[in-house]
Symmetry: C3
Subunit: 465 residues, 3 copies
C-alpha cells in the first residue's frame, strides 16, 4: 500500500523528531545571530540578499505550475497541479530530514556541517544540534528551493498518466537521496569539485546539478511509465496533443524568468560579491536571446510565430546560462542563449521521434539538453574575469575537460538512479494509472474533482425552472 | 444611502488633508534620511529588507484574489475580485488616516508616534507632522500591508451574497478602528504586551493580530449576512457548492506561500536580526508539513488526494507558525504545521455542521482556528533560543498563560466588534444582495459585467452570416 | 520580407558581437567588484536593493500580459501574449546593443559611460570594453526593465489587428532609438535636465520618460494601424467590445502594483537613500486612492461598481505618482492619485469619442494622460523635503515651468517619432493583419494555435464511440 508505507515513513520521521528535539536545544550554535554578525559585519546584507533570492526561487514553483498546467489537457489539470504543489512540500521535508546532510555534510560551509567524505556527507540531519544556526538555516533554505526545482521538473514529463502516490514517493526520494548525493560531488566538497582540470567541475547555479539531474530522472520516469494512450500511432509516429491554456504557458514562463534572477544572482550567497549584477544581466540576455532565436527559427520554418516555442526557447536560454552565468561576458550570454535553442529543439525531437519517449511538456530539451550545454559553455566562454575560471575564449583548455566529465557524470547518475528508482516504484506501488482513468482524466479518478466545475444551480434556482 | 455617506466621509478626509498639509511641512522629522543613517549605519540594510518584505506581503493580496476566485462560482467572480481588490485600498487609506495612529501611537517606535496609552494610541494621523519621517514611513508601509491582509480574509467568508457597498464600509472600519486597537494592545505598547506571564503576550508576526482577528470578524459577517441560498437543505445539512477553478486555488496558494516569507521573516523589521533565516526555514517547514498532513488525512479518509484540502492545509500550517516562527526550532515548526491541519479541519467542520455558518472558502479554519493554535504554540514550543521567549519545551509554564489570555481576548474582540459593526451596517445600509441578484449572480447585478464574456461577433462578422 | 530583414539585422548583430568580444576582455573595468566595494562600503546593499527592484520591475511584464489578455477577445489572446512576451526580449536586446549607449553615454554614471553630448550619448554599446563592469551592469539592468515597460505599453493599444512582424520591428526600434534618446535628455545628462527653471526637468521614476513616451508612441501606432473592424459604427460612434477575462485584469493589476514598488522606490538606485520608504508609501497611497476614486465616480455615474474602471484608476494613480513620488508628502500622493482618475478617464474618452482612435485597453488615459499629470504634479506638490525639489506648495514657481516644457517635449517626441516609425513600417512591412485574419482571430492566422484548445479525444477514446 503506497499510502500505508508513506505513513510508516512519517512515523519514523516523527520518532526521529522527538529524539532530536533534545539534541537541538543542547548543541545549538548561533541561534540569534549576534555572534555571527559580530564576526562578519556584512552578514546582514548577505543574509537579506540570499533569503530574498531564495524566496524568488521558491516562487518558480508557481511558474512550473502555470507552465505545465497550460501544456496539458483539461482532464488532467488538477492531477498535474497537485503533483506540482506537493512535490516541493515532499522534497523540502526530505531535504530537511536527510538531503541537506548528505549534500553539505563535510563541506564546512556553516555550523554543524562538518562530517562527510568525497562521496557523501553525513551531518546536519533535521537542522538539529549544531546545525540549528542562523547561517546554516540560510544555506538550507537556499539549497532546499533548488532541490525543489529539480524535483518539479519531472512533473511535466510524466504528466497525464503517472499515479499520484508513485509521484509522491519519487518526490521524497529525489530530495532525500538522488539530488543531494550528486550535489555533494559538485557543491558539497565532493570529488567532482576536486577534478584536476581547470578550476575543477564548475556549475555556478546548477545547469547540471539542478536542471539536467531533474531532466534525466524525468526521462527515466517518462520511459518507465510509458507514453500516453494515443501519443504514438500504430507506426510509432508521434501525434501532437495540445495543452489547454496558452496563456498559462506565458504566465508561467514570466514567473520562471522572474525567479531565475534569484536562482542565478542569488547563487553567490552574498551581496558583497558585486558580480551579482553581471550575473543578472547575463541571465536576462540569455533568456531574451533564446526567445528571439526560437521565434526566428519558427518563422523561418513554418511562417508562424509559435508562442510555445518562444517560451521554451527562453527557458532553454536560461537553463543554458545557469552554469556559466558568473564567468562569462554579456556578449557570450547572448551567444549561449541563442545556441541553447537548436540544442533544446533537436533534443526534444530526438527524444520524441527516435526514442519514442513521451515528454509531455518538452522538459528534456529545456532542462536536460540545455543543461548539458550550460556545463559545456563554461569550458568555452568563461573569460577569467571572475573567480579565476577560464575557458577556451581565455585561451585555457583544461576547464572544458572538467566540464565534459561533469556532463557524463550527471547523465549517468541521473539516468541510472532514475531508472533504478522508478523500477522499484513500478514493482512495489505501481507507476501508471489505469487506461480507463487515463481516458476519463486523472482529475476525477484520483482527486474527485474537475479543474473547472460549472456553476451548480442551487436549489431555488432549480425550483425556478 | 451608502454611496452618499461614503462620499461625505471622503469630504471630511479631504478637509483634514488640507488642514494637515501645513502641519506636515512644518513639523516634519527626518524626510531625507541622512540624519537617520548617520545615527544608525545599519538603517539602509534594515530598510531595504523591511520594504522588500512589505512588497511581498502586499503581493499576498493577489494570492487571496486567486484563491478566493477559484473557490467561488463563476457568476460571483467579478464581485469577489472587486471586494478583494478594493479592500486593501480602503483599508490602506483608513489605516493611513486613522489606524496607524490608533495602533502605534504611544509605542515610540519612530518619530511622531509618541502619544498613546495602554488602550489606544493617538498620534501619527495621516503620517503628518513629525510622522513625516523615513523610519515612520517604513513602519507604516509594513504595518499597513498586515492590516490589509486581515481585512481581505473576510472577503471569502461573506462571498457570493454580501453587497459591495456594505463590504467597502466594513473595509474602512476594520482598517481605521477594529484592527488597530487590538493591534495596539499586542504590538503597539498596549496592555497585552505587558501581561505578567512569561514575556507577556507574544504574537511574532500575527497569528492572532492579523489572521485570527480577520477570521473572527469574518465569522460574525458570515453569520449576520446569512448562508447562501441553497447552502443548507431543509434539515439544515450543508451542501457542497463547488468553486469554478481549481487552478486558481493552487496559484493563489503559491502566491500566499511566497508572500508569507515576507510576512514572517520581515517581522523583525531588521536584517541585522539574523534570526530571519530560522524564521524563513520554520515558515517553509510548517507550510510544507501542513500540506503533506492534509494530503495523508485526505487519502486515509476518502482515498482521494484532495487538492483543495492540501492547499488549505498548507495555509493552516503557515498561519499556525506565524506567531511562533521566531521562537521555535525547525522540528517544532514541522509539528506545529502538522497539528494545524486537524485543528483547521475540525473547526471548519464545526462552523459548517454545528453552527451552520456558511464560510465559503473555509477561512475560519485556516485563519481563525489555526491562528489561535499559533498563539498557543508559542507557549508550548518556544525554546528560549531567541528573544528570551520560553515555552513548555524549555520548562517554562508562564508563557502559555499569557498566550491563553491572548486567545480569549482576540476571540472576544474580533467576534464582539465584528457583530457590532455588521449589525450597524445591516441596520443602515443593508448587508445582503437580493435573492434575485444572488441567483442571477452578483457580477451582472452589482458590476454590470460577466467574468468571462464570450467574444462578441463584430458587425462584419454578423454580416458574414 | 519582414522575417528576412530582421534576420539580416541579427547577422549584423552577431558580427558586431564577435568583433566586440575581444574589446570586452581587454578593456574591462571592475568585473569582480572588489575594487568597487573597497571604494564604497555601501555598494553591496545598494546593489542588492537596485537588483531586487529591477527584478520586481521585470515582473511587471507579467502584469501587463495578464491585464491586456483580460481586456481582449479570446481569438486574439495568443497574439497579444506573444507581443507582450517578445517585446521585452526585443527591447532588452536592442537596449543592450544600442539603447543604453545612446541614453547614458556621457552621463558618467558608471565605468564606460563617458562619451556623449546634450542630445545623445555614444558609449557603452553592448556593455563591452570599459562598460563590462559591475556598477555599469547594475545600471543597465535597472534601466533596461524600464525601457521594456515603455515598450510593452504599446501592445495593448494596437492589439487585435497589428501584425506580429511589424510589432517586433517596433519593439526593436523603441529600445534602440526612440526611448533612449528621450531618456538621455532627462536622465542621461541631456539638455532637459539642465533647464534653468527650478531643479531642471524632474521625472523621478518615469511618468514621462517611461509611461507617457510609451503611450504617445502607442497612440501613433493605434492611429496608423486604424481601428478594429466593428469598433466604430457608421456614424463614427464607438462600440464597446468586451474583453474575455475580468479575473486576468485584476490579477494583472495586482502584479503591476507589486512591481511598481520596485519601479519607484528602486529609482534611487541606492538603499542608502532612506527616502525609499516615503517613496513606497506615496506609491501605495496614490494607487489605492486612484482605485477608490474610480470606484466612487463609477457608482455615482452608473450605480455599478465597475471593476475595470477601478483597476485602471489604480494604475492611473500609480502612473501619476511616478514622477513626483520622491518629492511629495503622503497627503499629496493621495491628492495626486485621486486627480489622476478624472484626467485618465477624460483623456480615454476624448481619444475614443473625438479622435476616434481605438485604444483597446485604454492605455492612453492611464499611461499618457496620467503620465503628463505626474510631470505637472512635481511642479505643484514637491515640498522641498528631498533633493531640493520644490513646487508651488513650497512657494516655488520655477519648477512648474520646467515641468510644462517637459510635458510638451515628451508629447512632441513620442508622437513625432511614433508616427514616423509606424509610417515607415507601414510602407515597408505593412502594419495590419487582413480583414479575414482579424475576423477569424489572429491566433490561428499568425500563430497556428488557439488560446484554449479543447481536449482532443485520443485514439482509443474515439474507438470507444
Amino acid at each position: 500500500m503506497p499510502a500505508r508505507s508513506i505513513r510508516k515513513l512519517t512515523l519514523v520521521l516523527l520518532a526521529l523528531l522527538v529524539s532530536l528535539a533534545g539534541a537541538t536545544a543542547v548543541f545549538a550554535a548561533d541561534t540569534d545571530g549576534e555572534a555571527t554578525l559580530a564576526g562578519d559585519p556584512s552578514a546582514d546584507v548577505n543574509m537579506a540578499w540570499t533569503l530574498t533570492a531564495a524566496f524568488l526561487v521558491f516562487f518558480m514553483q508557481a511558474g512550473f505550475a502555470f507552465l505545465g498546467a497550460g501544456l496539458i489537457r483539461v482532464k488532467h489539470t488538477v492531477n498535474y497541479l497537485k503533483k506540482s504543489f506537493m512535490d516541493f512540500c515532499m522534497t523540502g521535508l526530505s531535504f530537511w530530514a536527510f538531503g541537506f546532510a548528505l549534500m553539505f555534510g563535510g563541506s564546512a560551509i556553516a555550523s554543524g556541517m562538518g562530517e562527510g567524505n568525497a562521496l557523501v556527507g553525513f551531518s546536519g540531519f533535521f537542522l538539529a544540534g549544531e546545525a540549528y544556526d542562523v547561517t546554516t538555516s540560510m544555506f538550507w533554505l537556499f539549497e532546499m528551493v533548488f532541490a525543489a526545482t529539480a524535483a518539479t521538473i519531472v512533473a511535466g514529463m510524466v504528466a497525464e498518466r503517472m499515479r499520484i502516490t508513485a509521484y509522491l514517493a519519487y518526490s521524497f526520494v529525489i530530495g532525500a537521496i538522488i539530488y543531494p548525493i550528486y550535489g555533494h560531488w559538485v557543491w558539497g566538497g565532493g570529488w567532482r569539485a576536486g577534478l584536476p582540470f581547470g578550476s575543477g567541475a564548475i556549475d555556478f547555479a546548477g545547469s547540471g546539478v539542478v536542471h539536467a539531474i531533474g531532466a534525466m530522472i524525468g526521462l527515466a520516469g517518462a520511459k518507465m511509465v510509458g507514453a500516453r494512450t494515443g501519443k504514438f500511432d500504430e507506426t510509432g509516429r508521434p501525434r501532437a496533443i495540445k495543452g489547454h491554456n496558452a496563456g498559462y504557458v506565458v504566465f508561467g514562463t514570466f514567473i520562471l524568468f522572474f525567479g531565475w534572477f534569484g536562482f542565478n544572482a542569488g547563487s553567490t550567497v552574498a551581496a558583497t560579491e558585486l558580480r551579482i549584477s553581471v550575473i543578472a544581466v547575463n541571465t536576462f540576455l540569455a533568456g531574451a536571446a533564446g526567445a528571439v532565436a526560437a521565434l526566428y527559427i519558427g518563422i523561418a520554418r513554418t511562417g508562424k510565430a509559435d508562442i510555445l516555442a518562444a517560451c521554451n526557447g527562453s527557458l532553454a536560454g536560461l537553463v543554458g546560462i545557469t552554469a556559466p552565468c558568473a564567468f562569462v561576458a554579456p556578449w557570450a550570454a547572448v551567444v549561449i542563449g541563442v545556441l541553447a535553442v537548436p540544442i533544446q529543439q533537436s533534443a526534444s525531437s530526438f527524444i520524441e521521434r527516435k526514442l519514442r519517449i513521451d515528454d509531455v511538456v518538452g522538459a528534456f530539451g529545456v532542462h536536460g539538453a540545455a543543461g548539458l550545454w550550460g556545463l559545456l559553455a563554461v569550458g568555452i566562454f568563461a573569460d577569467g574575469s571572475y573567480g579565476g575560471v577560464s575557458g577556451m575564449v581565455a585561451g585555457e583548455f583544461g576547464q572544458i575537460v572538467a566540464q565534459l566529465i561533469s556532463m557524463a557524470t550527471v547523465t549517468a547518475w541521473g539516468l541510472g538512479m532514475g531508472f533504478a528508482m522508478f523500477w522499484v516504484l513500478k514493482k512495489t506501488m505501481g507507476l501508471r494509472a489505469s487506461r480507463q482513468e487515463e481516458i476519463e482524466g486523472l482529475d476525477v479518478a484520483e482527486h474527485g474533482i474537475e479543474a473547472y466545475p460549472a456553476d451548480e444551480p442551487a436549489a431555488p434556482a432549480r425550483a425556478r425552472a
